[in-house]
């Protein structure tokens, strides 16, 4: 048993490292390290974005949530998907035109200042770490399932591997690993869904009937409301999800890796197709899991639902399929983590090191070294956090990240691009208030403050699992207040007009206003 997994695992790891090595030989300049020098086509980039986005949360967490809670789990899928339209319409093209390496570039193209860079970098940092934690948690679970290793050890192993990987590979490697991973993930999931279907002799109603049998909710399984008792939760969750992607730095910097705006649009549209298809398949997997495994056995092995998909694989395909699906999940995690580390290291090494500490004077080699040290740091911090969060479904953790992104980056980004009167002070207050609000509300919420098993063992102060509906308006409010208070600093109308035109069309007018 163990031998099978081990061998398969080694195989995938080795292949990943080979691709990294191959890319490491070519990523010698900062440009290549950061953004694969504009060499990807729209569709390839779309696959890479999908790869970056579909993390353990989507693959493992959502399947588990659908299996246990039915409809409410599906809401996550929908929210994740529709958010791409927000990106496509409001944010994608301006970001592509205004920036080069990081989100900091984008905001600072309107408000150039060191303080701005610090804040943006910090925000990116925080979000990346928050997104990374669930990945490491999921991998901990995986390894525990497969090799019977202790959760903490597996987290340490994965964290270390990831860091090594990114330190030597850079963006090119992650781009291609994302693409390879997307291909493998989609085909593997597709085949798994086919297997599930064939188990019911291709009869959907048979599947649905078994689902009802398997779940304690019985007939009610398909009704919404099992996860979110409070109706406000629905709305709050959807709000955070749909606005969050537009504030995720590691997704947005993928808009720098293509050459022109047509490819940007193509990337995003391709990703929506891929992600949409993927969520359809996870729906089937979720149903299959509850139908074929049954509620009790699922709960017995893993009450968080994180392992529903691999367990399903084992049920329909034995250890072989279990090993394969786990390998896919593992690759997924590898790819996403790599992408996150890149975005965080960009934030630090490009924004802070290059612009601030070295006043734009550092050499490529120095920047590269800084980037690599940052990667190391990030890997360590997230691993440490992940060690303490063993009991949560990873999709929850990821949605936390979405709240933070939607409350801090999103308002600032939107207002920078579209609001005439927005000022630098407003941007800063917006970011700070959004960050603080979301973090505080999450800490005070029922995930962290939980009498049994949470970090803080007390009754939660706020009953919303998903405090998006509070945090996001606070972010906007903070930005607004900050702007009002500093309205004297507002740019002249003409300046904003030039900026706006540039962000919308790429045309930089060279005429100076008299």
């Amino acid at each position: 048993m163990n031998l099978t997994y081990f061998l398969f695992f080694i195989c995938i790891i080795v292949c990943t490292l080979i691709i990294t090595y191959w890319a490491a030989k070519r990523s010698n300049t900062t440009n290549r390290f950061y953004t694969a020098a504009g060499s990807l086509t729209g569709f390839q980039n779309g696959m890479a974005i999908a790869g970056d986005f579909i993390s353990a949360a989507s693959f493992l967490g959502i399947v588990g949530m659908i299996a246990i809670n039915g409809y409410d789990g599906f809401l996550y899928s929908i929210g994740f998907l529709v958010s791409y339209l927000v990106v496509l319409f409001l944010v994608a093209e301006p970001v592509h035109r205004l920036g080069k390496y990081s989100l900091g570039d984008v905001i600072c193209s309107r408000f150039p200042s060191n303080k701005m860079r610090w804040i943006m970098a910090f925000g990116a940092f925080a979000i990346s770490i928050l997104y990374m934690i669930p990945q490491l948690v999921a991998s901990g679970y995986l390894l525990r399932l497969l090799l019977d290793i202790d959760y903490s050890i597996s987290v340490l192993v994965i964290g270390g591997l990831m860091t090594v990987y990114v330190v030597f590979g850079g963006m090119v490697a992650t781009s291609w690993v994302q693409i390879v991973k997307t291909v493998v993930l989609m085909s593997g999931t597709f085949l798994l869904s086919l297997i599930v279907f064939s188990n019911f002799n291709w009869n959907i109603s048979a599947l649905i009937d078994r689902v009802k049998e398997g779940s304690p909710l019985g007939e009610d399984f398909f009704f919404p409301g099992h996860l979110f008792g409070n109706p406000l939760e629905f709305f709050s969750l959807q709000l955070a999800l749909v606005l969050g992607t537009a504030g995720l730095p590691h997704i947005l910097i993928r808009l720098f890796t293509v050459r022109n705006t047509i490819e940007v649009r193509r990337s995003l549209i391709s990703s929506t197709w891929i992600i949409g298809l993927f969520y359809l398949m996870t729906l089937i997997l979720g149903f299959g899991a509850i139908a074929l495994l049954g509620y009790e056995s699922l709960m017995a092995t893993d009450p968080t639902g994180n392992l529903a998909a691999p367990l399903l694989a084992k049920e329909v395909g034995g250890d072989f399929l279990l090993a394969f699906v786990s390998a896919i999940a593992f690759t997924t995690i590898v790819a996403v983590v790599a992408g996150l580390v890149i975005s965080a290291t960009t934030a630090f090494s490009h924004d802070i090191f290059h612009h601030i500490l070295k006043k734009g004077q550092s050499t490529d080699k120095e920047q590269l070294k800084a980037a690599r040290w940052t990667a190391l740091g990030i890997g360590l911090i997230s691993t440490l956090f992940a060690l303490r969060l063993e009991t949560i479904n990873v999709t929850f953790l990821v949605s936390m990240t979405f709240i933070v992104a939607a409350a801090s980056n999103f308002p600032v980004l939107i207002l920078t691009i579209y609001w005439k009167r927005f000022t630098q002070v407003g941007a800063i207050t917006g970011m700070v208030s959004g960050l603080l609000a979301s973090l505080v509300l999450v800490v005070l919420g029922p995930h962290i403050m939980n009498p049994d098993g949470g970090w803080i063992a007390r009754e939660s102060l706020i009953s919303l699992h998903n405090p998006g509906i509070i945090a996001i308006p606070i972010g906007f409010l903070g930005a607004y207040i900050g702007t009002i208070l500093s309205s004297k600093q507002a740019q002249r109308e003409e300046e904003f007009k030039q900026f706006f035109i540039k962000s919308q069309t790429g045309i930089t007018s060279r005429r100076e206003s008299p």
Binding site: L191, I195, V316, G318, D319, F320
Partner: protein
């Protein structure tokens, strides 16, 4: 699972041995060149499809009780048995090398075969082959910056087809026998064995490609060396020397059984086997040779009867005849001989063709160079032939004035003038004349001059007794005399003297013209002969012209030596080697 793994590796070992032998055949090597042609693709499809079938035959059968049967899979199996076929290796290779279409075709062939054999997984096994072929081909397109994919990448790719196969088995057969258990059992062994086999096979192919590239590189280097070394031989004068040199060079470098160089009628040189039967001077008899001469194209003979050799005992059996053309006409044939027809390989054919082209080109270049020299010489002579109008004018005046006073002298001068002009004409038509004629030319000139400057100038003419068989470019002495008379004696009123000496010393003939005039002005002296001097009455250009013609025709050794004499006056002299029948030869006989 361990037993199964080992058994699969054993079977795969068998396959790999066959594959290795395959890669040693020349037919396979042609497979690797990606020139696209429908015919080649179909051939490839069949080859790999059959390889796939062979792989299935060397596969194993698993029964319901999870027992492994060792027999080869030749006949259809029972319904509750599963064929574990190794055909995916062949199909993946087909796709990687030949592209999606070849992969698909080969996969179809192998897939249909497996389907016929039946058993539990017949549909899955049948489907997975064409699918894999297609996907492998598409992947190859994707990575196609290398001609043959690297073994490492092939290893990675090779992991997936068996996984696909397992999944298809699971999809298509969920009821009935415990497919899950079977997949568990055979999954990993298949993955391991397949991917390794694919990687090894890819390495083998890489080795073959390297070999070919090395071969090509060596052949190229050899060809370039030969080209370089052949050049000095081509420049030689006598055809025999050229032929001999070439034959030796080619025989040494190319490891042929024999080389011969002929012209249109006889053998000029033969080096190597069979030189008893192919002697220098033997005439050419075989039709193939004549065909080569007529068609101006390379001819290859694989039969002894076609070779230019009539003797039975001659060990040479095959040949390549290469015509060498000069100005669109075949002047020579170079023949490569072989002991056996099989020794002729594409390398030799390419070399022959290339060499033929090269030598023809070189000869053309050399011809062109000679032609240019020819033309230049003709130009110069044309220039020279322009008679000094003042000389003509003065001479005619002289004749007219003597007409009444001294009719015999007038007649004499008229005849001399005619003679002079005749020589000038000859100047244009020939590049070499007999020394006697040139002396007559000079004498015609000097007698006119002597008469004109009767009391003021004395001309001495000394020549050896035997001047037979000595050739000299026309009008090389007369201009020197003309120059001496005009410039040297410009400022001398009386007692002007011009000495013309022709002296013969063993193999050298020295001609010198001296005057006792004012000599060459110091600033002109270094330029004379090297530059056409704008002088009056053609004089300046005359010396330049003579010098050019002498140097071009005979060489630097024949250039003019010009100096001022210490006793006053100047001397212009030059030497030519004799006997100089060769000189004639030099001038494109």
């Amino acid at each position: 699972m361990k037993d199964l793994t080992i058994m699969l590796f054993e079977r795969l070992g068998l396959l790999l041995v066959i594959a290795f032998v395959l890669t040693r055949t020349p037919g396979f090597k042609s497979l690797l060149y990606r020139e696209f042609s429908w015919k080649m693709s179909v051939v490839h499809m069949f080859v790999f499809g059959i390889f796939g079938i062979a792989s299935t035959v060397t596969g194993i059968i698993i029964t319901e009780e999870a027992e492994i049967l060792h027999a080869f899979v030749v006949f259809p199996v029972e319904d509750n048995q599963l064929i574990v076929s190794l055909s995916l290796v062949a199909i993946v290779i087909a796709g990687l090398l030949g592209g999606p279409i070849v992969g698909l075709g080969a996969g179809l062939i192998a897939g249909i075969h497996v389907m016929f054999l039946g058993g539990v997984g017949w549909l899955a096994n049948g489907l997975v082959n064409p699918l894999t072929g297609l996907l492998a081909g598409l992947t190859a397109r994707f990575f196609s910056n290398e001609r043959v994919i690297s073994p490492l990448k092939a290893l990675f790719i090779g992991v997936f087809p068996p996984v696909l196969q397992m999944q298809l088995l699971l999809i298509l057969y969920t009821d009935g026998i415990g497919m899950v258990d079977i997949v568990d059992q055979i999954g990993l062994p298949l993955v391991l064995s397949n991917s390794l086999a694919i990687a090894i096979f890819t390495t083998m192919i890489g080795v073959v490609m390297k070999e070919q590239e090395n071969e090509a590189a060596l052949a190229t280097r050899q060809a370039l060396t030969i080209a370089e070394e052949a050049l000095p031989f081509l420049k030689k004068d006598s055809p025999i020397e050229v032929a001999d040199g070439l034959a030796n060079l080619l025989y040494d470098r190319l490891k042929l059984a024999a080389v011969s160089v002929t012209n249109k009628q006889v053998i000029l040189a033969h080096k190597g086997l069979g030189d008893k039967y192919h002697q220098v001077g033997d005439s050419i008899t075989t039709p193939l040779a004549f065909k080569a001469i007529k068609s101006k194209k390379m001819q290859i003979s694989f039969l002894k009867s076609d070779i230019p050799c009539a003797h039975d005992k001659c060990p040479l059996e095959a040949a390549i005849i290469i015509p060498i053309t000069e100005a669109d006409d075949v002047t020579n044939l170079i023949t490569f001989y072989f002991r056996k027809a099989q020794h002729i390989s594409p390398v030799e054919l390419m070399m022959a063709e290339g060499l033929g082209q090269y030598i023809s080109n070189q000869l053309n270049v050399l011809t062109t160079e000679k032609l240019k020299a020819h033309i230049r010489d003709a130009e110069l002579r044309n220039l020279q032939a322009q008679i000094n109008p003042h000389f003509l004018f003065n001479t005619l005046q002289l004749i007219a004035s003597l007409y009444r006073e001294d009719p015999p002298m007038a007649r004499h001068l008229t005849l001399q003038l005619a003679s002079y002009m005749r020589f000038n004409l000859r100047l244009v038509s020939k590049s070499l004349v007999e020394l006697e004629k040139e002396c007559e030319h000079v004498q015609a000139y000097t007698s006119i001059i002597q008469e004109r400057f009767k009391n003021r100038l004395h001309i001495d003419f000394v020549m050896p007794d035997d001047v037979s068989n000595i050739f000299i470019p026309p009008s090389t002495i007369q201009p020197l005399v003309e120059n001496a008379v005009q410039h040297g004696l410009k400022n001398v009123a009386n007692h002007a003297k011009v000495e013309i000496n022709i002296v013969r010393v063993t193999n050298e003939l020295t001609i010198s013209v001296r005057d006792n005039g004012s000599g060459f002005p110091a600033h002109i002296l270094p330029l004379v002969g090297h530059m056409p001097l704008e002088g009056n009455q053609n004089g300046g250009t005359g010396i330049y012209n003579v010098n050019q013609r002498l140097v071009r025709l005979i060489g630097e050794s024949a250039s003019l030596h010009i100096c001022n004499l210490s006793s006053g006056g100047s001397e212009v002299k030059f030497s030519i080697p004799i006997p100089n029948k060769n000189v004639e030869g030099l001038v494109m006989g």
